[in-house]
């Protein structure tokens, strides 16, 4: 299985994502620059956190038009596995690959600490290794992570089981319905504000994020057959 980590000007969690793949599933992983025009070699695409294009205008607003995003759209339509983390989540919503928008935290503070998440949906490509309703510990680090959708879209998300993670206990940013992560309707594209790549070993404070990476390998093996592992 081959992973791509997209690198935009201003990405700063790209190395963490790269290392997380190496350390959790030991699969092939490449950095892919924002100017790339071919992602056909990759099975999973990670859109990392950071401040793409300086977050000028809005978080993710400019990154959505980078050449590589045309390929990310194609990959999403082809059913490939795509995970957007933090700024990556903002980019995927701006690109229309995920519903909603991320706005400034209601506290106006940059929140950077561990949070507890409830795994609401274990049917996505990135969450099949968790138990339904399980509480996991993953860090957040964002100033604009308040997830917003209108009431009609929220009802659709619930009806389609697209809410993947909710904050347990305190809602750190004012997100609608305590939502921390969502998927597209097909479940192959997931976006979340917390950083699973920063929670892959106990020495980091938690290893609960590791199963997001083992999940996607599971999903890939299920799709391709265990015999064809390369």
């Amino acid at each position: 299985m081959k992973f791509a980590v997209i690198v935009f000007p201003g990405s700063n969690c790209d190395i963490d994502c790269f290392k997380a793949v190496e350390d959790t599933v030991g699969q092939s992983v490449d950095y892919v620059f924002h100017t790339a025009t071919d992602l056909s070699a990759y099975d999973a695409i990670l859109v990392p956190g950071g401040f793409s294009y300086g977050d000028y205008l809005r978080c993710g607003a400019i990154a959505q038009f980078a050449p590589v995003m045309t390929e990310v759209r194609k990959a999403a339509e082809a059913g490939k596995f795509i995970l957007g983390i933090c700024n990556g989540f903002q980019i995927l919503t701006e690109a229309g690959l995920l519903p909603g928008a991320l706005i400034r935290n209601n506290s106006l503070k940059f929140r950077c600490h561990q949070v507890n998440l409830v795994v609401e949906n274990t049917s996505t490509a990135f969450t099949n290794a968790y138990a339904q309703g399980e509480t996991i510990e993953i860090p957040i680090a964002h100033g604009e992570g308040s997830y917003y959708v209108d009431d009609a879209t929220l009802a659709t998300l619930k009806a389609n089981n697209q809410i993947v993670f909710r904050y347990a206990g305190e809602n750190p940013n004012g997100s609608v319905d305590n939502i921390a992560g969502v998927s597209n309707e097909a479940g192959n594209v997931v976006g979340m504000m917390p950083h699973p790549e920063r929670a892959i070993a106990e020495i980091l404070g938690s290893s609960d994020g590791a199963r997001m990476f083992t999940s996607v390998l599971n999903a890939w093996r299920e799709r391709n057959g265990a015999a064809s592992i390369s």
Binding site: L57, R58, A61, I62, F65, T93, E94, G100, A101, I103, R104, N105, N106, S107, L108, S146, Y148, V149, D150, G174
Partner: protein, 80 residues
């Protein structure tokens, strides 16, 4: 031709920056201040004299990039 573009947070979306500024104005004694909303103001120079075409193009610019219509409204004025 110059365009002035205003991007504002939708009425039904919380504006924490506006609320903080409202609180600060109250603290300074400006008790007459009701709601405060913060938005963005952009000046865009356009290389055209065709007003109708400029309006059409600006609408596309706003919808595509300048505003996120999930959470923001926009309006613009043309000068010249």
């Amino acid at each position: 031709m110059k365009a002035k573009v205003y991007v504002t947070i939708k009425e039904n979306v919380l504006d924490p920056q506006g609320n903080a500024v409202q609180g600060a104005l109250h603290t300074l004694g400006f008790s007459e201040v009701g709601q405060v909303r913060i938005g963005k103001y952009l000046e865009v120079e356009l290389d055209t004299n065709d007003r109708a075409q400029a309006e059409e193009r600006l609408k596309v610019m706003c919808e595509k990039l300048l505003a996120n219509t999930v959470v923001e409204d926009y309006r613009f004025e043309l000068e010249g």
